[in-house]
Symmetry: C2
Subunit: 568 residues, 2 copies
């Protein structure tokens, strides 16, 4: 019998024994055919590879992630992910859904990719309600029904409206959860369950949510797993304390590693493989770290056709030069070589094609100097202010006194930055104003349409000139990230597709985004992740005080907060 490929002399990972064994692996029609001893019982092959003792592990499976965080469309992301050994993902395309609704999701699902990409139904578009934020698209019950009928859809994406889930029986998210379980009682339902405990945690589970991917502590891991939740560990949850908890209770069957969001410049350095490495560095055995990035994620998503090196499963695998450093030598998908060490990222032969209007999607006015004048009578105004923290994406709500000069709020001399969120879907032209503390120390501005989740145009600056320049540039580019300093453009990363992704080469985009980060730092922006920090100032499910095109909101109470609290 002739088969397609034989890989000899590999140290093959056995998922079920959690060991490596010297084996010979036969592959036929893109699937593992037989994993045998040296003697393959008379099999011959079209191609034979000598792995020369390299380690062979299954392709990595990332079951909770958002492709848009890479700033690339699926077909280009696929190339980048494969280079890091990721062969299957489950993507929740809720960013593109916020911009283009069903058409956005469908455009992603229609893309041909070498990596297997499955999708979760975005369950929270908009993240709150259309009273609190204006989005390009919305996902309601009808859209959920339609999406669930697609074979590419295998999960419900993260349900994140805490208030809607815990205390509003008739909220849209509760209706979506109910409908989803009626259509498929066994579908995996992802949750966004940060710091939720006790009976509130039970209420999330009772609504049907069976997994959480938010930041964990040892205590939250213990409580959630022993309560029956599946835990998806992203980078910020992978630390020694959490790994120790997992090891102590042997929780390996109920966890998986995921990425959630990896921005393009980080993606150049690694993807899920970096989290596997981090877990090992934090004290998890290599064998367990591989298990929870291949087998348990496959099982969580009900895959029966992948996740291990075993006969009948998809021949998705990685050859590693080194086990403790996970140095990737080669990556195979469906038995085909897709990446070899020192390959540069390559690109799909045909450029992704999106509808023409995807490239002309920023529909809002060009700001003029007059637009930045906030008229107010009085001596000074007590203002509600968003205070940025130096770690993470939470903010503080503070109040600061701002002088009034000639009937105008003199924000430029206040030491605060002015922030505007401009509705960009041509729907209502709303512009919301806010003030931000601990933002910029220099004269400059940052503008972006990569503003979670609604992706309206957000611009923040300490001088009117810079704000105008940054806003004009981002409008001209039809989306992206822009930094200006004293009237000059110091950082620029175009994201012309829907204002959130680009089909430019990944190295180029990665380099541009690094420059944007540096330019933000140069303006005095301090955060462990400047991009995520700024881009989530607009996210009204991320505590505490955030701003959308509809105004500033206290995220916990969903109450609107005025810019000016009191005039003195």
């Amino acid at each position: 019998m002739e088969i397609d490929l034989i890989v000899k002399h590999a140290q093959v990972y056995n998922t079920f024994l959690k060991t490596f064994e010297q084996k010979t692996v036969a592959i036929l029609e893109g699937k593992f055919f037989y994993i045998g001893q040296k003697d393959l019982e008379g099999l011959t092959a079209k191609q034979v590879i000598d792995a020369k003792g390299k380690y062979m592990i299954p392709g990595l499976i990332d079951i909770h992630m958002h492709i848009e965080s890479s700033m690339m469309p699926p077909s280009i992301f696929s190339k980048a992910g494969l280079a890091h050994g990721v062969t299957t993902i489950v993507a929740d395309a809720h960013e593109i859904a916020n911009v283009f609704g069903m058409e956005g999701i469908q455009s992603f699902m229609d893309e041909k990719t070498e990596m297997d990409i499955f999708y979760a139904v975005p369950s929270s578009v908009p993240s709150t309600t259309n009273v609190m934020e204006t989005t390009g698209g919305t996902i309601g019950l009808n859209e959920v029904r339609e999406l669930l009928a697609s074979p590419q859809i295998i999960a419900l994406g993260e349900a994140m409206n805490f208030k809607g889930i815990v205390s509003e029986p008739d909220s849209l998210i509760r209706q979506i959860l109910k409908e989803t379980q009626q259509v498929d009682p066994f579908i995996p339902i992802e949750g966004h369950v940060p710091r939720v405990t006790g009976i509130d945690l039970a209420k999330f589970q009772f609504a049907g949510i069976t997994a959480d991917h938010t930041q964990q502590t040892p205590e939250s891991i213990y409580e959630k797993i022993s309560s029956g939740m599946f835990i998806e560990l992203q980078k910020k949850s992978i630390n020694k304390e959490n790994i120790d908890m997992i090891k102590q209770y042997e929780f390996y069957e109920y966890i998986a590693l995921v990425t959630d969001d990896i921005i393009v410049d980080d993606l150049l350095k690694g993807h899920l493989n970096a989290n596997v490495q981090l877990a090992i560095d934090c004290g998890m055995s290599v064998e367990q770290a591989i298990y929870i990035s291949t087998y348990t994620p496959a099982r969580r998503m009900r895959f029966q056709d992948r996740g291990a090196i075993a006969a009948g499963l998809k021949a998705d695998f990685i050859l590693l030069d080194d086990l403790n450093k996970l140095i990737i030598s080669e990556v195979y998908k469906d038995g085909q070589l897709k990446y070899q060490k020192e390959d540069t990222f390559d690109y799909p032969e045909t450029k992704p094609v999106f509808p023409a209007h995807f490239y002309q999607s920023i529909d809002c006015k060009k700001l003029g100097a007059k637009d930045l004048i906030i008229k107010v009578e009085g001596e000074k105004a007590l203002c509600n202010v968003i205070r940025i923290q130096e770690k993470g994406t939470f903010t503080e709500h503070v109040q600061r006194m701002v002088p009034i000069r000639d009937g105008v709020l003199d924000w430029e001399s206040s030491g605060l930055a002015l922030i505007l969120v401009m509705e960009r879907y041509g729907k209502n032209g709303a512009i919301a104003f806010g003030l931000v503390e601990n933002a910029l120390t220099e004269k400059g501005a940052i503008a972006t349409t990569w503003a979670h989740d609604h992706h309206n145009l957000m611009v923040m600056g300490t001088s009117a000139m810079d704000i105008l320049k940054a806003q004009h540039k981002v409008l001209e580019m039809q989306g992206g990230y822009v930094v200006t300093r004293e009237g000059k453009l110091t950082g620029c990363c175009p994201l012309p597709i829907g204002g959130i992704i680009t089909d430019a080469p990944i190295e180029k985009t990665g380099k541009q985004l690094k420059e944007v980060r540096q330019a933000m730092k140069d303006l005095g922006y301090i955060n462990t992740n400047e991009i995520m920090s700024f881009s989530t100032l607009s996210l009204p499910v991320s505590p505490v005080l955030k701003i959308t095109d509809q105004g500033m909101f206290d995220v916990r109470t969903q109450v609107q907060i005025p810019l000016i609290e009191e005039i003195k």
Copy 2:
């Protein structure tokens, strides 16, 4: 907040910690709502139960079984199973499919039951081909497609044609496997993989089969699990050697306990609970034995809504008086009490209703004395003979010399039993003859329509008078099991629905079947399970020599074997 039911003071099994903890369990709308400490944070309930320290475990889940083996329709089986703590099953209705095809399967699926019954598509109806056996119904590609569209169908039932799977790329079973994976790439596919090893095992897996429930040895468990198969342990695989192997390698995640076939008289004594008890008696910890009869079977079948006592999951649970003896005190399904200790089996309020022709389904001739005369010229005949073994259902193929008297094969004086299989679907009137050794020592006969899998009318006896009497009685009853001895009826169990099941009370049927067994023993029939031994003489996928309405067959080669090899 008011909920439906609170169970206090229970020792609750935690699946994820594999321990028991004193907890209070709140139930709402048929689901677990919250598993808490004594203080349920202000919850009140319509009903409160004091479990008085009883052990609370999830309802048992049997993912590989055939309801027809109980000789009862689903609605009555459901009552019996619930009494043994079984709250969910996945049934492969391939017996009723052999008799009535799609109409048979549909009649089962249409029955309302208190237990949750899911179905696997019967993949091998007939078990071989319609050249080798005549069945009432057949399941081809169209039927498979139609069944896969049903929400009650969640798996493909056991694929059992070894030759078709391993060496015939275009066999019907290979086509069915392919089609099934195309419709649902992630569906669990059950296999019948006895004594299959090495590259042949890989070929089963390559065809899509991911589980095996046949008899295991420690070696087969190690090989199959480490090759990626899920192992379903039925009673004959639960022994100390196998449990030791599982313990040594901690294979708990890749195994489940199942029943496969439990005949009515055994069902009176226990169901899956008996196998859990047996696993404990063989040295498995109680906690692990519960795990592999609740959680791993649920996960194997992709259930996300049951299998543990956790918020959001179905409130299917058992209260046990004793942990090591698994004495069932109460059984709850969807939060409702369904069984209490010392309840007798009760019956559905409405009798199951099947189409009228299901009760008149045995269409074959009434045998006369002439029919048992096998004319042959010569002195003596060398005959091919089925030799029954005293353990298991395999037979031997032997040859014996039988005298010829007056041109007639004198089987009555040969020390062998005559066996006939009569086509009973009114299709072709075929009658096949065979001889059996090590069958009966006394004058008598056994007749049945419960003859796997085709369920034609099979009768075997050592005297013509007894054969005629038994065949007439089984015809008159329109199916069932009959034993005669020296012209007298000594055992009788009517199975009037399709000739394989009955809606009579389970205790009555159980008692009748016990009498049949005893009557068989009294005729000298020796086997650890007389019913399964006799009823599988007709099964042409069970080695070695078997007989269908189309003749005797060597099961391994599928070659027909004549009764008379040579005349001397």
